[in-house]
């Protein structure tokens, strides 16, 4: 089935747009049908009925749902997601402050994930049914089964017990007097400002939450890499390489690894939604103060504009991650460049 690659990319982008539209309709309807009047909540219990109804008209709550949705999306596309009830500021301003912290955490977690899981998957496949395999499989099984909050708390416990002054909450040491920089990513900003002490502190703070966040993914990706390696090892062209006397090392690293990294990448894209979910837990345990903490708070306080924005941004995270995965797979797998179907 030959297909125009340009068309394939368009279809893919179309799917993503559709995802965002359905997601936004769902959360929008959900946020409007909840019991409780947003105008009443915004004004507090002391407001008079006249004040409430005036605000209702001002917020457009008296219009029909489709009208409200269209005007909300119109404003959202121009970067106006409404006001947050909690912070009394535009939601976009809150997001601008909190999203970078989460991006930094998730990026580092993903790097740890692949740095640990791919070699582990390769090793367990290579030493199949030997002790390395058994230990590696047990490790990935625990990674998949342990609740991330339990793992996070255990890390804190161990750090508190054995490394007394290792930081277990927050993003950096406030005593250092670093106000942040243009990107919002502590690791980058500190280097831009030339503050090595801040960089080290940020790295220390980041280590435990990033490891905790990566654990579930490490388990998944190790398992998938292992089974992909084993499956591809039996393929004809690999057996041919072996019969020509190509060393095992070359087979693994030049041929098998490339072929076997497609499955874990695809899974990574799909699992990104649950990675964001786990970030909610990890950020809470480590008082990270990122986008997920903001979202959790918004949900708890029924801050509707903020909740809607948080769900939309989570969806956007998922889509961006999957676009990156698509590009990576296209780079790795030449077949995909010619016929991207599905």
């Amino acid at each position: 089935m030959q297909q125009n690659p340009f068309l394939a990319i368009l279809t893919r982008l179309g799917t993503f747009v559709l995802v965002m539209v359905v997601l936004s309709i769902m959360i929008f309807v959900l946020a409007r049908v909840v019991p409780g009047d947003p105008a009443r909540m915004a004004l507090g219990p002391t407001a008079t009925p006249e004040q409430v109804s005036a605000l209702r008209t001002e917020m457009g709550l008296d219009d029909s749902l489709p009208v409200q949705y269209v005007s909300y999306m119109g404003r959202a596309l121009q970067g106006d997601l409404g006001m947050s009830l909690l912070s009394q500021r535009p939601v976009t301003a809150d997001l601008g402050q909190t999203v970078p912290a989460t991006v930094e955490l998730v990026l580092v977690a993903v790097i740890i994930m692949f740095a640990v899981a791919i070699p582990l998957g390769v090793m367990t496949a290579h030493f199949r049914d030997r002790w390395v395999d058994h230990v590696g499989r047990l490790f990935s099984l625990v990674g998949v089964t342990i609740p991330s909050f339990l793992f996070a708390i255990s890390l804190q416990l161990l750090a508190a017990r054995y490394f007394g002054d290792w930081p277990i909450i927050g993003r950096m040491d406030h005593g250092l007097g670093f106000a942040g920089g243009p990107t919002g990513l502590m690791l980058v900003d500190s280097l831009l400002a030339g503050r090595i002490d801040v960089f080290v502190s940020a790295l220390q703070h980041l280590a435990l939450p990033a490891v905790a966040l990566s654990m579930a993914g490490i388990g998944q990706i190790t398992r998938i890499t292992r089974s992909a390696m084993l499956e591809n090892r039996r393929k004809d062209h690999v057996l041919t390489l072996q019969s020509f006397g190509v060393p095992e090392r070359v087979i693994i690293f030049r041929y098998l690894l490339k072929l076997s990294s497609i499955a874990p990448l695809t899974i990574m894209g799909l699992e990104f939604a649950s990675l964001i979910g786990n970030a909610f837990v990890i950020e809470m345990v480590f008082s990270w103060g990122g986008f997920a903490s903001y979202g959790l708070n918004a949900i708890l306080q029924k801050d509707l504009n903020a909740v809607t924005a948080v769900v939309l941004v989570s969806g956007l995270f998922f889509i961006v991650a999957n676009l990156i995965v698509d590009v990576l797979i296209a780079i790795i797998d030449p077949r995909m460049r010619r016929k991207e179907a599905r």
């Binding site: 997601l23 959900l30 089964t145 609740p147 979202g295």
Partner: protein, 294 residues
């Protein structure tokens, strides 16, 4: 594993397929351990009022003289901030977790299966709509959606369950769709159609039996995920109302007293790990039994 295969290849060629599957399952230590763990958890949950040392501690009991006791012979998991026996509460918490599994999977697995079967067999617009819908649903961050749904309605276990169920069927639909689509092009389906079988017969009598192995493995592994998911929700404060014990909220409660009274976090946590590990081992065992790849 290797010796099992050899034994099977040798003398037992004429044994029935189901016996061979059972043989493979029973000789797999991981599968047996998983089965034992799951069985023990189920038995504990069912018999909770009769076998726990202090079933009355499930309610709003306060016994300040016994608060924060470390684990010992009478309190296996120690006691919590108001002196209740953590072991008794954890066993009752297990009940909630397993109820959640039954509720969520009991609804979402049949829905996902039927939609997946239909999408794979009928093709055309049915296929396009169902796969489109699953792709969209898979992009929703499950935890975020569940939190939003359950809290905007009201943070109860029932709402949390509804929220999880709404999202869960998609994974099954996706998986069954793949199997159903490949089976649908087999000759015996064509033969059934020529013999005059209706779509209901083909879907449920011809295609569904080929999906049983996939469904059972996926459902078993999913049980672990649902437990994890439910525990995470209640850890974040979106679960059952106190004082009803729930493993996730017990961990959350214990976290306030962390470095000193570690058992209040680690013991309920270990119970979660015990069950999820059991379901995972059992699922992997089933997968080996059906001789599936991946």
């Amino acid at each position: 594993m290797a010796e099992v295969k050899m034994a099977l290849d040798g003398a037992n060629k004429d044994l029935s397929a189901s016996y061979m599957m059972w043989y493979r399952f029973s000789r797999n230590p991981a599968a047996v351990i998983g089965t034992l763990i799951v069985l023990s958890a189920v038995i504990f949950a069912i018999l909770a009022p009769y076998i726990t040392p202090k079933p009355e501690d499930v309610g709003a009991v306060v016994n300040f003289r016994a608060r924060h006791l470390p684990p010992d012979a009478t309190h296996w998991f120690g006691t919590d901030k108001v002196g209740r026996d953590i072991f008794s509460r954890a066993v009752f918490g297990l009940r909630i977790s397993l109820l959640l599994v039954i509720g969520v999977l009991g609804i979402s697995v049949p829905i996902g299966t039927v939609l997946g079967l239909a999408a794979g067999y009928f093709g055309g617009w049915t296929e396009r709509i169902i796969t489109g819908l699953t792709n969209v649903m898979l992009a929703m961050p499950p935890l975020v959606m569940a939190l939003a749904v359950s809290n905007l309605l009201e943070p109860t276990l029932m709402n949390a369950m509804i929220a999880i169920t709404l999202l869960w069927w998609t994974w099954h639909a996706r998986l069954i769709y793949a199997v159903s689509k490949s089976v649908a092009s087999e000759d015996f389906i064509e033969a059934a159609r020529i013999a005059g079988a209706g779509p209901m017969h083909i879907l449920f009598r011809e295609i569904l039996p080929n999906c049983v192995s996939v469904i059972s493995v996926k459902t078993t592994l999913d049980a672990a995920f649902v437990i994890l998911f439910g525990a995470t929700l209640s850890f974040l404060g979106f679960g059952v109302k106190p004082p009803t014990p729930d493993l996730g909220s017990m961990v959350a409660d214990g976290r306030q007293f962390m470095p000193d009274f570690w058992w209040e976090v680690l013991c309920p946590g270990a119970v979660i790990l015990y069950v999820t590990l059991g379901f995972n081992l059992l699922g992997d065992g089933l997968r080996d039994m059906f001789d599936m790849e991946g």
